[in-house]
């Protein structure tokens, strides 16, 4: 009988590397000059970013008319991209905050990176709400509740305003959380580096960290408190983003299931994106033993779980639309599945519900090529989910006379490409400027670093 010891945790870091080796491996990308591959990658993402900047510049100069938006369909790619990127940003905080509180040690290898991606995703997302307005130059001011002599305030009942608060809070907390986690690593880098300029930068950013016991105690407590802070935010941000739709009276938007459904979807897409990027990172930087296949498999399990939650939401939406007996409501859903945009709906449904079911097979869960493709499809599906929700509901609402078909334009496409360009440019710069895995935390989870309870 082959015996598996279920009481023993699997090692999070394989191979018991000495602490010095961990320092070296993780800070290696920071010590070395960028190679050719990096520049090739960067030039690709910068080109994409450039396309987006041109699209945005033209929009700024000429107006939203360059997009495909029309009279019933007031929101198109702009809001689809916004919700998509906010969703991508969800994995980070979930991994770093919620999994931290649940003492999931496997998160250590991926937390830093996921947090970084959260921040970049929110930055990418934040472009859209501002630039989708007709007059961004006044929107930047009018959307803030600043005291003024007209005693004119923002409208606190508008979900768009809640968005402003939710997203900015989320960004601020995520950023602080990320930075606090980086402080011990900055100190390690400061101690290692021989370059004068880097020394100054790391000295400043490490805030005088000396690895003292007292520092560690304060650090752990702060981290715990921030994790507590961030946890409700994981749920609240996408809840409030979902209110943008749910608070309206539009059939297909006005749905109470939206908050949990959106959060699940956000975690779903966020994990898929983190998994995608990490597959490259662990290969390129030789982190296979730090970001292990076990970790990836666990992420795939979460993708499977959230995928099913999303699938449940899709079905329940449909059921309630029928069960409510409200004709426009039921039509909105029938129209999604069988109307003009049926292809978008079935792309969404297959990518998000059918395809992740492959993760029931352990072989697929642990196969890098398979999981990569599945996660890419999940993000395609999740982008289409937002498209389906936003566009199909708007294109056919109450009065059949005002129905119209929405067709995106080249400018719309350029903004989508540009958003990916911005995100991946930031990710690339991140890999060469900051430790993408937490040095201090990994050290803490290497086999043998913890007090041992077994095998006396």
């Amino acid at each position: 009988m082959s015996s598996i010891d279920f009481t023993r945790e699997l090692s999070v870091v394989e191979g018991k590397p000495p602490l010095r080796v961990i320092d070296e491996i993780i800070s290696k990308p920071l010590d070395s000059k960028p190679d050719k591959k990096f520049y090739i990658a960067l030039s690709i993402t910068l080109t994409m970013l450039g396309i987006g900047v041109v699209g945005l510049g033209l929009t700024f100069f000429y107006g939203i008319g360059l997009w495909g938006n029309n009279n019933p369909v007031g929101w198109g790619f702009d809001i689809v991209n916004f919700v998509f990127w906010i969703g991508i940003g969800h994995a980070g905080t979930l991994i770093s905050a919620i999994l931290f509180l649940f003492r999931q040690k496997w998160r250590t290898g991926i937390a830093r990176f996921a947090e970084g991606m959260t921040i970049f995703a929110v930055m990418t997302a934040a472009i859209f709400p501002l630039f989708h307005t007709g007059r961004p130059w006044v929107a930047a001011v009018y959307l803030l509740p600043y005291p003024n002599q007209h005693s004119l305030w923002v409208n606190f009942t508008s979900p768009l305003l809640w968005d402003v608060f939710a997203v900015s809070t989320y960004f601020a907390v995520s950023f602080v959380f990320w930075y606090i986690g980086l402080i011990p690593d900055f100190a390690t880098l400061r101690d290692r580096t021989t370059n004068g300029i880097k020394k100054i930068i790391y000295s400043l950013t490490s805030l005088g960290w000396r690895h003292s016991n007292r520092h560690w105690q304060n650090y752990e407590l702060t981290y715990l408190i921030l994790a507590g802070f961030a946890t409700p935010l994981v749920l609240s941000v996408h809840t409030i983003v979902s209110f943008d739709f749910a608070v309206s009276i539009l059939p297909g938007w006005h749905t109470t299931i939206f908050p949990p459904y959106f959060v699940a979807g956000a975690v779903f897409s966020g994990f898929a994106m983190v998994q995608n990027v990490l597959i490259f990172i662990r290969k390129i930087f030789n982190y296979e033993h730090i970001i292990t296949l076990d970790t990836l498999e666990r992420m795939n399990k979460i993708i499977l779980l959230t995928g099913m939650m999303v699938g449940y939401a899709y079905s329940m939406e449909f059921f309630i639309a029928w069960y409510s007996g409200v004709q426009p409501e039921f039509f909105a859903f029938m129209n999604r599945a069988f109307g003009d945009y049926y292809w978008a709906y079935w792309i969404m449904f297959s990518c998000n519900v059918f395809i992740p079911q492959l993760f029931w097979f352990k072989k697929i869960r642990r196969s890098i090529p398979f999981m990569f493709v599945i996660a890419v499809l999940v993000n395609v599906g999740m982008w289409f989910e937002r498209f389906v929700i936003t566009v199909t509901s708007l294109s056919k609402d109450y009065l059949p006379s005002s129905w119209a078909y929405y067709k995106p334009t080249i400018t719309d496409a350029s903004l989508l490409i540009g958003s990916f360009g911005l995100f991946f440019t930031l990710v690339l710069l991140f890999t060469k400027s900051l430790p993408v895995v937490s040095i201090s935390e990994v050290k803490a989870v290497v086999d043998g670093s913890q007090p041992s309870h077994g095998d006396h």
């Binding site: 000429y62 107006g63 939203i64 008319g65 495909g68 938006n69 029309n70 009279n71 019933p72 369909v73 007031g74 929101w75 989708h132 307005t133 007709g134 007059r135 961004p136 006044v138 929107a139 009018y142 959307l143 004119l152 305030w153 923002v154 409208n155 009942t157 508008s158 979900p159 768009l160 305003l161 402003v164 943008d244 608070v247 309206s248 009276i249 539009l250 004709q327 426009p328 039509f331 029938m334 069988f338 109307g339 708007l394 609402d397 109450y398 009065l399 059949p400 006379s401 005002s402 129905w403 119209a404 078909y405």
Partner: protein, 1015 residues
């Protein structure tokens, strides 16, 4: 006294410590008055702070004002001497006249600071009663059209009036002396004084010949009446008195004759709220017209079969005893004896029962029914119609008192052929186009293009560039009608006056003055000429006690002048004029029609009109070949496929449009499009199908035997409403399922007046509704009266500075109209039932747009208006998304910019803007405001006059424009208001009521006067 903190005494000076009373006094007043010293720079020390600041302020002010050359900026300066009548900020109205195609409309021109900004109907006009067609509303834009001709031109070069006049006078004298013809082309002249000028011109130059042309004319009707009655007056129809109306290929409600008058009278018979009775409209047509759309019972019939239909109907009427066969001539009886309705129904597939009930209705409503044939039908059909009307005793419904005056006969094709021959043989001395466009309006087959192109003596008097101007040697710009004098008589018994309301914007002249100056009159003054004419011909016979000046100014003020009535009465038909018309359906029948918006192409350069949706198809900026679904299927053609129409070798290509309800094997094309050289907006919009017109008969619009073929090309039409397949079960009858359109039949309504309310649920709210203590503005729209004619849209556009966006933007669904007419089909594609519904902002009490705006740019006023603060709007478009009626419009671009086919950004076109309404910039949402500027004006007046607001006092632009008076607006809180009556009426309903957003536009459900089984 001292400050105590705890038990310690705190002091700041010895004096305080010693409790100096002065210090104590000062301490009581923290901010003492008089701290500021008197400001006297003289007494200040050289470098005091205050002096420095004073000098700084003074020099800044000096630098910023004195050194700028503000004199040259052309800024607004107040009147040094205020002109009489003009009060800045107050509109002034002048009565005038708009005339077109032998029709005239009394108008009131609203001017602000001397600038005409809106045209309203003149309520004193005895015929049009203050209503005008959409073309007149929008024509204000033509005044400020930068494409207008601005100075005289000779062979493409700018020249002066004096020079051209000298040359032309020589030219005319030469022609006269060599006895060569001077040909004048003109459209029908409605002005007696203009006619007089032309007559005098003819006296002066006896070789003059005048050609009167009209692209779409009603000559067939006129001919038939003339054959029968030898009178100069054609009666108008008392539609309001008619119980049964049978329209044969006639769009009398849409684009035929004086539509405004027809709509006013017709809708009188549709006043179900007040009378509980309805007239009954039958329509038998091949096209799908606005009239057919409103018909209670509609038959679709190939237009060439109309004569046979009438014969069969006569037979049936004789059979059921509605008319007496002894009153009909032998030869007529013999031709109809074989034709029965039964046979006709079998042949055409029409519903026999419905046809029989038509005959029965005519019998039951003898002398209260009218059969009315369309302008496009032949004079034989018109004759038979007149005969039937006579036999049915319908002459009661003929109004000779206010009949149409036949000013002058249209030129026949033979005369034009003669002109062509003459010009080819060099017998034409000069060709003058007198505010007409013969090259475009006359059939291409005459070859006028070559004649004009080869001639060196072509003179064109025109307001705007056009095809004829392009080929003329001398181009003489004439005034816009708002800059010109005139008088118009189109109806019996009255004359309307036209006066200039703005001094000419360009170096143009009154067109009559141009002729007068050629006749050798130095500096002619048409104003005086007109006054003299009036004095001699009207004042002299008026028995007026007033002196002529008073008489003249009163007439100018009123705009309308009573003149002697031509007393004519009905005379019996001479049945010997009866002629049988051979009706044979061959291949495809082509029906050419007038269009709804741009007139005979004259208003093609008007963006507002080009963008006004076609009332039936909702297509903008184009004409098209309309086909029935079955014909389209047979030809394997779908929407936007370019087809070639080949009619005896005459070919045109244009896109197809599938129109439910059309007769099979019939193609309907509207004229007036495809203009060239006519300005930025007009050029190449739509397709010129004038090439299909016959050079043999200038009043023939129906051609059978055409061949239609698919070319394989695609041309995208831009419509404001998507066309869903009628058969698509997925979306069929949604307007009824969702209670957007609520309808019933007269029978149903009479049996149970509350029938609409039966399925209604009580809607309750968990929140308290807002209280409106004073006024609460609301609107009601009576769908029984609303015809879907779209005139409200035109009026609203002008009133509210609604931009033109161009075809490309319309096809992207970005039109900006604040009010739209929704059109829904139900039934089958072959025999659809059409419902129309004007939709504008419903000003909901619980407006869903308001709570989602993040910046409070849209909010609610205490008097129930949903308002927009454009300056606050940042353009998130959330309000538009959340509006269930989708009435909010977004400025996707700066639509006032220079877009190829839309509006212009130029100094001139800006002048058309209503100064009371903000011009919206790019990136903001706009929508119907219930004409808040009019509400504010009324309120201002009420306050000034120290009275309360009359609940019906405020009128919105759509309301004043509605010819059928379907729209009421007023204070819903006041029991006296009309709107309140409609809100409480049993037929009143709100669209999407179940959303509980409490809209404030009440719709009165349409009641159809048809049998329940027909609906």
């Amino acid at each position: 006294m001292s400050n105590k903190i705890g038990t310690k005494n705190i002091w700041k000076s010895i004096k305080e410590f010693e409790n100096d009373p002065k210090i104590l006094e000062e301490k009581l007043h923290e901010f003492k008055s008089g701290v500021t010293d008197d400001f006297d720079p003289e007494n200040m020390s050289t470098f005091s702070r205050r002096k420095f600041l004073a000098v700084l302020a003074a020099s800044t002010a000096y630098v910023s004002t004195a050194c700028t050359n503000y004199r040259d900026k052309g800024e607004i300066v107040p009147y040094v001497k205020r002109p009489e009548e003009i009060l800045p900020g107050k509109p002034t109205y002048y009565a005038s006249t708009f005339s077109e195609d032998a029709l005239s409309y009394g108008i009131l021109v609203k001017t602000r600071e001397g600038r005409p900004i809106k045209i309203e109907g003149n309520p004193d006009d005895p015929i049009n009663k203050g209503k005008i067609p959409s073309r007149v509303h929008a024509s204000i834009l033509n005044l400020y059209d930068p494409d207008r001709l601005q100075f005289p031109i000779k062979t493409k070069a700018k020249t002066s009036w004096q020079k051209v006049n000298e040359e032309i006078i020589n030219l005319l004298n030469e022609a006269n002396s060599t006895n060569k013809e001077i040909s004048i082309f003109t459209n029908p002249i409605t002005s007696p004084t203009s006619q007089k000028v032309l007559n005098e011109f003819k006296t002066k130059f006896p070789s003059t010949k005048i050609y009167i042309t009209q692209l779409v004319n009603n000559n067939n009707r006129i001919t038939s009446w003339k054959n029968s009655f030898t009178q100069n007056i054609i009666p108008s129809i008392k539609w309001d008195k008619a119980k049964v109306i049978v329209a044969l290929e006639s769009d009398f409600l849409g684009k035929e004759g004086n539509t405004v008058e027809n709509r006013i009278k017709y809708s009188d018979g549709r006043d179900i709220v007040n009378t509980k009775e309805l007239n009954k409209l039958y329509s038998i047509e091949g096209a799908m017209s606005l009239t057919g759309m409103n018909a209670d019972v509609r038959f679709r019939l190939n237009p060439v079969l109309q004569f046979e239909f009438l014969q069969s109907l006569t037979n049936e009427l004789v059979k059921i005893g509605a008319i007496n066969s002894s009153e009909i001539a032998e030869n007529i009886i013999s031709t109809i004896s074989n034709l029965t309705l039964e046979k006709f129904a079998t042949k055409t597939g029409l519903n026999l029962n419905k046809l029989k009930s038509l005959a029965q209705d005519l019998k039951n409503n003898k002398s209260n029914s009218i059969i009315y044939a369309g302008d496009v039908l032949s004079s034989e059909v018109h004759f038979l119609v007149n005969l039937l009307n006579e036999l049915l005793g319908s002459q009661n419904l003929y109004d000779f008192e206010n009949g149409f005056i036949l000013n002058s006969d249209l030129t026949t094709s033979d005369e034009i052929k003669k002109f062509v021959v003459n010009s080819k043989s060099g017998n034409i001395g000069a060709i003058i186009s007198f505010d007409a466009n013969p090259i475009y309006e006359l059939p291409e087959a005459f070859g006028l293009k070559e004649i004009f192109g080869n001639s060196k003596t072509t003179i064109c008097i025109s307001e705007s560039p056009n095809e004829t101007v392009e080929l003329s040697q001398y181009i003489l710009p004439s005034h816009n009608f708002l800059e010109a004098w005139g008088d118009h008589q189109t109806r019996n018994g009255h004359l309307t006056l036209q006066q200039p309301v703005i001094s000419p914007l360009f170096d143009t002249k009154q067109k009559e003055e141009i002729l007068l100056s050629w006749m050798g009159i130095e500096n002619p003054n048409y104003h005086e000429f007109l006054m003299n004419e009036l004095k001699n011909n009207i004042y002299a016979f008026s028995n007026s006690a007033a002196d002529f000046n008073t008489y003249w100014f009163t007439a100018l003020h009123d705009g309308v002048l009573k003149v002697a009535k031509n007393s004519e009465s009905y005379k019996k038909l001479d049945q010997s004029f009866y002629k049988e018309s051979k009706s044979k359906t061959e291949r495809i029948t082509i029906l050419l029609q007038n269009n709804y918006t741009i007139g005979t192409g004259k208003y093609a350069n008007n963006g507002w009109l080009q963008e006004l949706p076609h009332p039936v198809t909702k297509v903008t900026w184009d004409n098209f070949a309309a086909l029935s679904p079955a014909t389209a299927e047979k030809l394997n053609v779908t929407y936007d496929d370019v087809v070639e129409i080949n009619q005896n070798g005459k070919k045109v290509k244009l896109p197809a449009f599938i129109q439910p309800g059309m007769a099979d094997d019939t193609v309907v094309v509207e004229l007036g499009y495809g203009r060239k050289f006519s300005g930025d907006v007009a050029n190449d919009v739509g397709f010129n199908v004038n090439g299909l017109l016959s050079e043999k008969n200038l009043s023939n619009y129906i051609f059978s035997g055409a061949v239609i073929s698919k070319t394989g090309e695609i041309y995208e039409l831009a419509s404001t409403q998507e066309h869903h397949s009628l058969n698509d079960e997925f979306v069929k009858d949604f307007h009824k399922i969702r209670n957007i359109i609520q309808e019933g039949t007269l029978e149903e309504y009479k049996n149970n007046p509350e029938f609409l309310k039966e399925h209604k649920h009580e809607i309750f709210s968990i929140t308290q509704s807002h209280e409106y203590k004073n006024e609460k503005w609301a609107m009601s729209i009576d769908l029984n009266k609303c015809l879907g004619c779209s005139e409200c849209i035109s009026s609203c556009n002008v009133e509210n500075n609604v931009p033109v966006v161009g075809k490309d933007q319309v096809s992207r669904g970005r039109e900006m109209h604040w009010i739209r007419i929704d059109r829904y089909y139900s039934g089958t594609p072959e025999e659809p039932i059409i419902s129309t519904q004007p939709i504008l902002c419903q000003h909901c009490d619980n407006a869903p747009c308001e709570n989602v705006c993040p910046v409070n740019a849209t909010n609610h006023s205490p008097d129930g208006l949903n308002q927009m603060a454009y300056n606050r709007c940042v353009g998130t478009r959330y309000c538009a998304n959340n509006c269930p009626y989708k009435v909010r419009r977004y400025n996707f671009y700066n639509f006032r910019d220079n877009f190829a086919d839309a509006h212009y950004e130029n100094e001139l076109s800006y002048l058309v803007n209503n100064p009371e309404v903000t011009v919206r910039s790019r990136g903001v949402i706009e929508k119907c405001s219930f004409c808040i500027q009019n509400i504010m004006l009324a309120r201002e007046n009420a306050i000034r006059e120290n009275r309360s607001l009359n609940p019906n006092e405020v009128k919105t632009a759509c309301q004043t424009a509605c010819p059928s008076n379907a729209i009421e607006f007023g204070d819903a809180n006041n029991k006296e208001s009309f709107v309140n009556k409609f809100r409480e009426h049993e037929l009143g309903y709100y669209v999407l009521e179940e959303l509980n957003i409490k809209p404030n536009v009440t719709y009165i459900a349409k009641i159809r006067n048809s049998h329940s089984e027909d609906v």
